[in-house]
Amino acid sequence: MAAPCNLSGSCIPSLFKKYLMALTGFVMVGFVLVHMMGNLQMFRGPDAINQYAHFLKTLPGALLWGMRGFLIVAIGVHVWMAILLTKENRAARPQGYLKQAVVRATWASRTMGLSGSLLLFFIVFHVLHFTTRVIFPEYQMEDYYTILEGDVVFNVYQMVVDSFSKPWVTGFYLFAMGALCLHLSHAVWSMFQTLGWTNKRTRPMLKGLARVYGWVIFIGFVVVPLGVISRILPPMMGDEEVIILSIEAEPFDSESL
């Protein structure tokens, strides 16, 4: 059957789809590491994380939106290819086995679609939660602004602490990070294999690296919610601060930030 070229992508060579999967995955693999290191600023105190967040938000618009756009495209292509590949893979075995043993494939590798779907749901939630702040609209209110070196900045620290004080939010984030850990523990070596950068000697090392990477990312992310519930990261806003804020923060227009 000559493959017709349409949106379903059956004309895209299988290996091209996999290359896109691996390259977009590579972008995200790099991103999660930087993101994780950014989050760890929480442990250096409210000012550190707030300053970091302020720095990111006040980057030149073209740069900020360039990076965001790049990531959005990467995620979009990754998901699109995941859908195409999964559909083809299913179609390739219309009749399954009565009995199917798994000899070597890891659980992580066999559940990439599942962990990926969870991650997509998480990413959407996460952006609505912390970036656009529509899940808890109170984060858009003036209470969540603070003064840092004379500037009025958004109080990321307080938002994070308040968020993870809700058990279901913490639970969901921990679960999603588990999915990320699982996804990465196969993905990181798989992308090298897809790009053809493996051989007999390096494959075991890359498989090891993938597991380690998965765990490092997992731990690096979950210490923040765990820090909040264990009060290693205490709430910041004391009563006096609220008063000072409400006086000082009056004249500014939060829309302009």
Partner: protein, 253 residues
């Protein structure tokens, strides 16, 4: 030995198949798996029933004709062993053994356990020729091949095209098979001139046949009776990108 067999029966390609149960006694532990099936067929024929159709030819592990998914594993429980070389001593007396055909859309069942693997032949055909002079045997030292290259090409040439890689893969991907053919011919100077064209054509034919994509599970490598490694898929991936680039820039025929 006595075995309880659960075997896929399907009278022809168009028919709906189903599993049937059989009991077979007095199996010698030294019999091969196919000899066990021969014994079952004798029993069935004596009872006036239709024997179970299955593929086989050399019965010495070199032709790639035998197949079967045995207890959920292509070519059964022994590593690096074809079904014809699998012996009954690797099963327990009284065990239930499930026998299914290799399952993949490009491998339609023709009858019982026999599947049509001509999709592999199409892939091979699309690979085309290699540039050697036919006629009298060439002088042995005319084309020098480095020892590591010769070894690698020989390892790849071990592939007998049985299709176990497709059968075992969750995605029914034929990448291990194609990679073995590519590494075999692309590594040797004799296959080098057509390298890029061969690669692009074989991958295209593979895609068109409806095989799935490679997710790097590694199941194929685990069941391959000839131990073809995932390395070859890595090389295929790498060389495909190079070939595709060349095709876009200057055209590969």
């Amino acid at each position: 030995m006595k075995l309880f067999l659960k075997i896929w029966r399907q009278p022809n390609a168009a028919a709906v198949g189903a599993f049937e149960d059989y009991v077979l006694d007095n199996i010698s532990p030294d019999a091969s798996f196919l000899e066990m099936l021969d014994q079952l067929n004798e029993q069935l024929i004596t009872q006036g029933k239709e024997g179970v159709a299955f593929d086989h030819d050399c019965r010495e592990g070199i032709c790639g004709m035998c197949s079967l998914t045995i207890n959920g594993i292509a070519h059964g429980p022994r590593r690096a062993t074809t079904t014809c070389q699998l012996h009954m001593r690797h099963f327990r007396d009284g065990e239930t053994v499930t026998i299914e055909p290799f399952r993949a859309r490009p491998f339609p069942v023709l009858r019982d356990l026999v599947v049509d693997r001509s999709a592999f032949d199409k892939i091979i055909q699309s690979g085309g020729f290699i540039s050697v002079r036919t006629g009298s045997a060439p002088e042995a030292n005319q084309t020098l091949v480095a020892k590591p290259d010769a070894d690698r090409a020989m390892d790849a040439a071990e592939c007998i095209g049985c299709g176990a890689c497709v059968a075992a893969c969750k995605n029914a991907s034929a990448m291990l098979f194609v990679s073995a053919k590519i590494v075999h011919l692309n590594t040797l100077p004799q296959g080098a001139p057509e390298k890029n064209r061969r690669l692009l054509n074989m991958v295209k034919t593979m895609d068109e046949a409806g095989f799935g994509n490679c997710s790097n599970y590694g199941e194929c490598e685990a069941v391959c009776p000839k131990g073809i490694p995932l390395d070859f898929i890595g090389q295929l991936n790498r060389e495909w990108a190079v070939a595709k680039m060349k095709d876009i820039v200057s055209g590969v025929e």
